[in-house]
Symmetry: C2
Subunit: 553 residues, 2 copies
């Protein structure tokens, strides 16, 4: 008896070892599925076989035989399935904080903002500081920066500190300025600007000058960071974003991400770029971290800043601003310093992603890459973040130097009027030049720069192939020669973002061996008008073969 | 055919599910094995069945049937097998740095130290600072602290900064003092002391005064921390230490531990206590981290310091030092501050471990625990680290307040002469009172305080039941009434350390469900004289059922 049992047992083991993979698969079936192949061609399918490792085993066509006894089966009854979106440029924790703090991003006038601030202050009597952001004096049509006096009329007793939508300027009331000890005599830090009324600080602090107030603002507690990260993940999953770059992960952000990963709650895949080389090296040591938590988290690079933003006139231009003749913005670093920092990062194998908005900043970064490339050979994937205003003479250098252009379609449709005011139409020839980049063979990675803009990838996608805003303005699209096709934009919002993060072998498309990261949506994006595409509802979000979000009906 | 295949297949799966554990087991056989049961009784065995999860399935007696087809089998040919040691109080990174830096711990005179420093300086021309430690003016018989002038005669051109063996004082040359800008006018920081010659700093900086120089010492790079951690692990494994508390993990230490864990190279189990509450909360957020990397790492608590050390007269005493009548040492914190910090830690569920050496410091911590206990109920396991000099009136309070006494046997045998000089024999009634602690029912956890002492657990074990040093001094043992038995000491160096780290369900003894953490040694510790026990050689160290160290022959 024991002998025959043992024989049967041995046979069973042999069989189960062979048969295990088949047994372990799950199936998503009856979908209007689409993805891109490695060449960027759209392919269709009706089902996916998913392994226990959360990866795609096989895409199924309607005639293909289904596994007979799958672990699980999800019948999607004909709904549309797409790969999850990848946002190539976001700020994960800030997205969560923005959602939890006073959010002025929807306000359309200073008065509306003041009303919202007053309501928030009344509702949060325990908060010692009123912290928030999202304001944009351009959207308000204010014609000037807001002032401390504007805020004092609403809140006099507690410090208020509100960042501009682009994060490159912040607005304080008098209590905050006083708490920071800033006076008419305070020196303006390099790379910053203090807005003034006469000699006195008027309330807005640009770029590095924000540090004067930041340093006295109470830092969020770790548990508040945990809430913010959780909130950010919820927002991203609801938009169908399954992976994102985090552009400037601070040490405390990183620790929050690890806490979430350690407790098995990190779902969205984060390609982290350390906030400066010190952070990256403190975290990763001699090089990038491995992929952690089943390819959910990796610090693979470093985020640097070459300049500020256009809206606050912090972008560094070759010639003065059209609407502020004495100003050309400011570079954050000397050529030597930026090259040294990029070199230190590259030396240890960190990918380098540099924020550059103005044409002078972009040239500085291209020059640095050109200088460093002979030393740091191999597959470096230098990234320029935003790459907004490029001198036409510099445009071909992106391809020559193999630079990834990490761009944000909704920045163009949000900025268009402001950019024309700042630069004049003539200097926009190399502005937001998506189609030119593609034509030149430059890899494009699209994102939103959330929370500067909404992370909504449907808005980003529509903006990318229309160059129109949500209202369909302007007719025919803004500088329409820089439109990309619907397919090209989709690539840049999926596989392009994975490539930009050295993750193209892991996710970004649906193909055997890639992660089963996908979304179920309520319409076919290739059969929808731009307006309809923007209204797409994400019904379900799946990451690594697991359903991590279902829309509340 | 397919039908019968499927039936067979289903049977195979059902069988394999039942049978898998048996198949997956490995066996260590033919050992002279011993461990303790949960009550502290020594039990013997001749083999261990180990599951694929790295845990003990079963201890085998000589008559027990062995698994017939184990995954693997290790025949130890009669060698002695013991559970791995647990060091309840060490400093992991410092152990590695000490091994990589200039190490004066073996020097027996100032002249010998100077020769060693000169040789190191000559061998390391690239080092901008000469960093090291391990000196002990008591061991040198110097009768005074060393001075900057002593060092200047060896190294004039580069700063030198050498920590005392106990870490509570450091010795600078004039170049280091100059680099730090310390002069006769420099104020002495609270909780510290600057040794002086006349008005001038003479070269030694005690306790918090070390910060005056520390702040200009170049910090180790992350990769240097990685080397140090690797080195520390090698040292610990070679001594047969399979788990350790890390008493005061800095953020950078933690990040190095995570790097090692992330790349699968962390073998030794680390029970980490954050260096201060801010570190713990930054790392763990709202409470301890989970056990990470297969129970290899957890930040479960907070390390605080109530006072300094005896050697440097930084220990806080109820009455002045016998050999320095004007001095009583200094408490590092007010009663209010220490209670606030302990409360903040306990509120978030962190275990609290407080360094207290002098009788006044121990009383302060006991008072704090007494004050906090009504608020923080449940299984808190308050720890006092060192608990060296206790006023006899306070001894029973350890039991009443359920405090763990985390003590270091080799401190007693190293300190005995110095302690008598500092305190006089009369005030040692509650000093190093291991047996009294046990008699009172206080849980003991033994460690070494490496690198203050060698991590060598064989020396610690022998010291614990002899109260004699390596030379067998003094005859009969120092204050022999405080000896514990060989078995009690073994418990405190194994299961006691696990209990002190909330890990008694995971490791510390060999029993079904516990980690298979054990060592193979060249002699039977219960049949060895103290001298022979100290000479024990660890042949192999196993953690989680994996062989992680083999002695080079």
């Amino acid at each position: 008896m024991i002998g025959s049992f043992r024989k049967l047992f041995a046979a069973a083991v042999a069989l189960s070892m062979v048969a295990t993979p088949a047994l372990a698969d799950g199936v998503i079936d009856n979908v209007n599925g689409m993805t891109m192949d490695a060449k960027g061609q759209v392919i269709h399918f009706t089902g996916i076989v998913i392994g226990r490792d959360g990866k795609v085993v096989k895409l199924l066509q309607s005639g293909d035989k289904r596994p007979e006894r799958p672990d699980w089966l999800s019948n999607q009854k004909g709904r549309t399935l797409l790969p999850g979106f990848i946002d190539a440029h976001g700020h994960v924790l800030e997205l969560g904080f923005r959602a939890l703090e006073l959010d002025l991003s929807a306000t359309k006038s200073l008065d509306e903002a003041k009303a919202k601030i007053a309501a928030y202050v009344a509702a949060n009597p325990e908060k010692k500081w009123i912290i928030g952001g999202g304001w944009n004096q351009e959207k308000w049509g204010l014609g000037r920066f807001p002032t401390a006096a504007d805020l004092d009329s609403v809140v006099g007793d507690r410090p208020v500190w509100l960042s501009r939508a682009d994060g490159h300027a912040s607005w304080a009331n008098s209590a905050a300025i006083k708490a920071a000890g800033v006076t008419a005599k305070t020196a303006t830090p390099d790379g910053g600007r203090i807005e003034k009324t006469g000699a006195e600080p008027s309330g807005v602090f640009v770029d590095s000058a924000q540090g004067l107030i930041d340093k006295v603002v109470p830092q969020p507690l770790p548990k508040e960071r945990d809430f913010a990260l959780q909130k950010a993940q919820e927002i991203l999953l609801a938009f169908g974003i399954t992976a994102t770059s985090d552009m400037g992960t601070s040490m405390d952000d990183w620790l929050a991400m690890r806490r979430m990963g350690d407790r098995g709650a990190l779902m969205v895949r984060i390609m982290s770029y350390g906030a400066g080389i010190e952070t990256a090296i403190r975290v990763g040591g001699n090089g990038p971290t491995p992929w952690l938590y089943g390819d959910r988290l990796r610090m693979g690079g470093v985020k640097l800043y070459a300049d500020g933003a256009l809206g606050s006139r912090g972008a560094w231009l070759l010639k003065p601003y059209s609407d502020a003749p004495g100003q050309s913005g400011a570079g954050f670093m000397s050529d030597t310093l930026i090259q040294n920092l990029m070199s230190r990062a590259a030396m240890d194998g960190y990918q380098v992603a540099v924020h550059a908005i103005g044409d002078k900043a972009n040239r500085q970064v291209l020059d640095a890459i050109e200088a460093l490339s002979p030393t740091y050979k191999g597959d470096r994937r230098w990234r320029i973040e935003h790459a907004q205003i490029i001198d036409p003479a510099d445009l071909p250098r992106f391809a020559t130097l193999k630079v990834i252009a990490s761009m944000q379609p909704t920045h163009a449709t949000s900025d268009m009027k402001m950019a024309e005011a700042r630069l004049g139409a003539d200097r926009l020839a190399g502005g937001y030049a998506w189609a030119t980049m593609l034509k030149n063979g430059v890899p494009l990675a699209f994102g939103s720069d959330y929370p500067v803009e909404s992370p909504d990838p449907w808005a980003g996608w529509a903006a990318a192939f229309t160059r129109q805003d949500a209202n369909g303005e302007p007719f025919g699209g803004w500088r329409p020669e820089e439109k990309v096709t619907r397919e090209q934009a989709w690539w840049a919002f999926t596989a392009g973002g994975a490539y930009a993060g050295f993750a193209e072998d892991k996710f970004g498309r649906l193909a055997p061996g890639q992660a089963a990261d996908f979304i179920i949506v309520d319409r076919d994006p290739f059969l929808s008008s731009p307006t309809d595409l923007r209204a797409t509802k994400v019904e379900e979000t799946w990451i690594g073969g697991q359903k991590v979000y279902v829309r509340k009906q």
